[in-house]
């Protein structure tokens, strides 16, 4: 037996390149279809978990998919908007209360989500350091934002201009970080949360400036017509809300006419959810109510279709690889005819010769199987992160 083992090892050492190629090919064929399955399952499970926790969403008419993805993942850059008044309309149904979301703005690549303190409770987001946002202009950041931007409580985030060419647009708003969330392992980790009114200030719908009735600002008054003061554009507007200037911040017009991206309705039970959906679908043409689970499931159908195509392709490759491997083994056996003859002449039994010849096949299959299993485990643990790096690089 020791002789056989010695001869087998020597054979493998001598043909290591050929065997390595075979092992690599068979490993890939064994790993790929299962890896695709794992990635798809993990994606589906995470998508559905988020959608399950947010079964319905209300937004402006448009793509239900973009509304769902925007309200669940804050992934839409310029969402269609609806009026804040819709929040009161939701409450007026008596079937639900709503949480407003306004996710139009960003700070670097991180979405700034304008909402109410209810959102943090709804998502069960806990503050690890600091406190929730309480005053206009304050921000609470997700754990990934804190890690990536190296921010802590007391630092500040600055809203990014929507366009670098918008030089006459709204000034970026500097917002103090008052709280950092515990990791939630969800898109909330990557977001910056502010009060809905702060997001309106970012948009320029509310602002703070010098008191025009103040003597210091007199030089900036173009004319006074009765009770109306007309100032020039040099009036100092504040780009940071502080304790000293917060009283000067104000909004123009009614809150009800200001924009939001979506509303997450909170219903007491499934019956209320069904009634709310029915009411919106029957009575409202200007807004849409979507079942996130249904929309995400439809998206997943696409994922599963793609997965099936990929798996089918891999299956064809697997068959081809198996045929090539068989051919390699067959040719190898033919090439080793002289070796078998020599072994027989020096006294090796028929069984010993078969065992020695089989060593090549068994070694390739065992090593490939072990490598495939290891890769599958790694995929299960780190597949999503690797995919992310691949997609973002």
């Amino acid at each position: 037996m020791g002789d056989l083992l010695y001869l087998s090892v020597q054979y493998i050492r001598h043909h290591k390149l050929k065997l390595a190629v075979l092992v690599f090919a068979i490993t890939l064929v064994g790993w790929l279809p299962i890896a695709v399955q794992i990635i798809v399952d993990q994606t589906a499970s995470q998508l559905l978990a988020r959608a399950d926790s947010t079964p319905i969403v209300i937004g402006a008419r448009g793509s239900p998919l973009e509304l769902s993805l925007g309200s669940l993942y804050f992934s839409t850059r310029t969402p269609e908007t609806l009026n804040y008044a819709e929040l009161e309309k939701v409450a007026a149904t008596g079937l639900a209360t709503g949480i407003p979301l306004y996710y139009r703005f960003h700070s670097q690549q991180h979405p700034i989500v304008g909402t109410t303190p209810d959102y943090l409770d709804y998502r069960k987001l806990r503050i690890s350091t600091g406190r929730p946002f309480a005053l206009l202009g304050e921000a609470v950041i997700g754990s990934k934002v804190a890690d990536e931007l190296q921010l802590s409580v007391g630092d500040a985030v600055i809203s990014s201009p929507e366009s670098v060419f918008d030089i006459a647009g709204v000034y970026p708003l500097k917002m103090p970080v008052v709280g950092i969330l515990e990791p939630a392992f969800s898109p909330d980790d990557n977001a910056i949360f502010v009060d809905i009114k702060t997001s309106w200030v970012i948009q320029g719908l509310g602002h703070g400036h010098q008191d025009l009735a103040n003597k210091i600002a007199l030089g900036q008054i173009l004319k006074k017509d009765g009770n109306n003061l007309v100032a020039n554009a040099s009036v100092k507007q504040y780009n940071e809300i502080t304790a000293d200037n917060i009283d000067s911040f104000h909004f123009h017009g009614e809150n009800s006419l200001r924009p939001i991206s979506a509303i997450i309705p909170l219903t007491a039970d499934d019956k209320a959810t069904a009634l709310l959906i029915g009411r919106y679908q029957q009575e409202r043409d200007d807004v849409q109510i979507v079942r996130s689970q249904k929309v995400i499931s439809e998206l997943l159908d696409t994922v599963f279709t793609v997965r099936d195509y990929i798996v089918a392709g891999i299956a064809v490759v697997a068959v081809a690889t198996a045929i090539v491997a068989l051919l390699v083994f067959f040719l190898s056996l033919r090439l080793r005819r002289g070796e078998r003859f020599t072994l027989a002449r020096i006294g090796a039994s028929r069984e010993q010769i078969i065992l020695l010849m089989a060593t090549e096949v068994v070694t390739v299959i065992l090593v490939s199987g072990a490598l495939s299993a290891m890769l599958i485990l790694l995929t299960h643990q780190y597949g999503m992160q690797l995919l992310q790096q691949l997609l973002l690089s």
């Binding site: 993990q42 994606t43 499970s45 995470q46 998508l47 978990a49 926790s53 998919l65 973009e66 993805l69 993942y73 804050f74 992934s75 929040l87 209360t97 109410t116 303190p117 209810d118 409770d121 069960k124 806990r126 929730p132 309480a134 005053l135 206009l136 997700g142 990934k144 939630a184 392992f185 969800s186 898109p187 980790d189 990557n190 009060d195 009114k197 509310g206 400036h209 025009l212 009770n227 109306n228 003061l229 007309v230 100032a231 020039n232 554009a233 009036v235 009283d247 911040f249 104000h250 909004f251 123009h252 998206l299 696409t302 994922v303 793609v306 999503m384 995919l387 992310q388 997609l391 973002l392």
Partner: protein, 306 residues
């Protein structure tokens, strides 16, 4: 095309999920807060109404420090954090709490007690409008906010609070309705009392120390001129001269103070032969409860002699 679009969205989505995902913490359980329920109110009348209506359902809080006008008060950070923990925040409406735009509160907790009577809010004229840069002209106009000095509006505010309490504690509906009935009866008695006394004051030359009686004037048909006199601050000679001219030759003049004037002011007014009376809106806490303050107003009006 549709498929490609979905795939594009999908890849973006996977990127977003991947940035944040490991395991969705779906079973995370929030610690149950065992703190007693609290209701925040923004002035003394609302504090009184809510206390009467809520009974022992919750602790009713008026966070405004004594001696501060609740209409001028701005909450500090700790006040806002306390409001975030409250079950309900009872607001007066009519632009009373101007700080609302500067704090983060759940809209579902906010109860605008006079919203149903919005059509009865009195708009204030003479507000400065302004424009600057490319923005449109705008004003920071507002409404008179001492709504509770019209007892019919006070009744509506009390009913709005009762509805909010029932919505929050539906199992307590019967008890809340019972308490509401009692409170509404009390407010009706006050209304009748003011109406009866208003008959005697009708047609008199009324001067109010501050423009906080708009709803009172309208409800009880006691129109007068509002000045800006502080009870504890001696008016200037110019102000005294203005008052002198305003009451000259009118023996039926009556000066209505929102609080007890200082002795020096009262003496000088008496020397002018000008009658005065204190009608407290009682926006903030005092030694009496709000009902006691209103009954004291009625008592002073009854005792009034020209």
């Amino acid at each position: 095309m549709m498929m490609l679009r979905k795939l594009r969205l999908l890849f973006l989505l996977i990127a977003v999920i991947s940035v944040t995902s490991c395991d969705e913490k779906g079973t995370d359980v929030k610690t149950v807060d065992t703190a007693p329920a609290s209701i925040i109110t923004v002035n003394y009348p609302l504090y009184y109404f809510t206390q009467q209506l809520a009974g022992d359902l919750a602790t009713v809080i008026l966070p405004v420090p004594a001696g501060t006008d609740p209409a001028q008060w701005n909450p500090q950070l700790e006040d806002v954090l306390r409001m975030q923990q409250a079950e309900l925040i009872i607001l007066n409406g009519a632009g009373y709490s101007t700080w609302l735009d500067k704090v983060s509160l759940s809209p579902h907790k906010l109860v605008n007690s006079s919203l149903d009577a919005k059509d009865q809010w009195i708009s204030l004229d003479g507000q400065t409008t302004h424009s600057h840069g490319p923005g449109a002209e705008h004003s920071h106009s507002g409404y008179a906010f001492t709504t509770w000095m019209d007892m019919t509006l006070a009744r509506q505010q009390a009913s709005a609070i009762a509805r909010a309490l029932i919505k929050r504690w539906p199992a307590q509906q019967q008890a809340i309705v019972l308490r509401e009935t009692r409170l509404l009866e009390t407010l009706t008695e006050l209304d009748i009392g003011y109406q009866q006394l208003a008959v005697d004051l009708a047609g008199k030359n009324l001067i109010y120390s501050h423009p906080v009686y708009q709803y009172f004037e309208r409800r009880y048909q006691l129109a007068g001129e509002s000045l800006h006199w502080e009870p504890g601050e001696m008016p200037s000679e110019k102000q005294w001269r203005y008052l002198q001219n305003r009451v000259a030759g009118k023996s039926d003049s009556l000066f209505i103070w929102e609080d007890e004037p200082s002795a020096a002011i009262a003496e000088r007014m008496a020397a002018m032969g000008l009658a005065s009376v204190v009608i407290r809106p009682a926006a903030n806490t005092s030694s009496k409860d709000w009902l006691g303050e209103q009954q004291a107003n009625l008592k002073r009006l009854r005792e009034l002699t020209f």
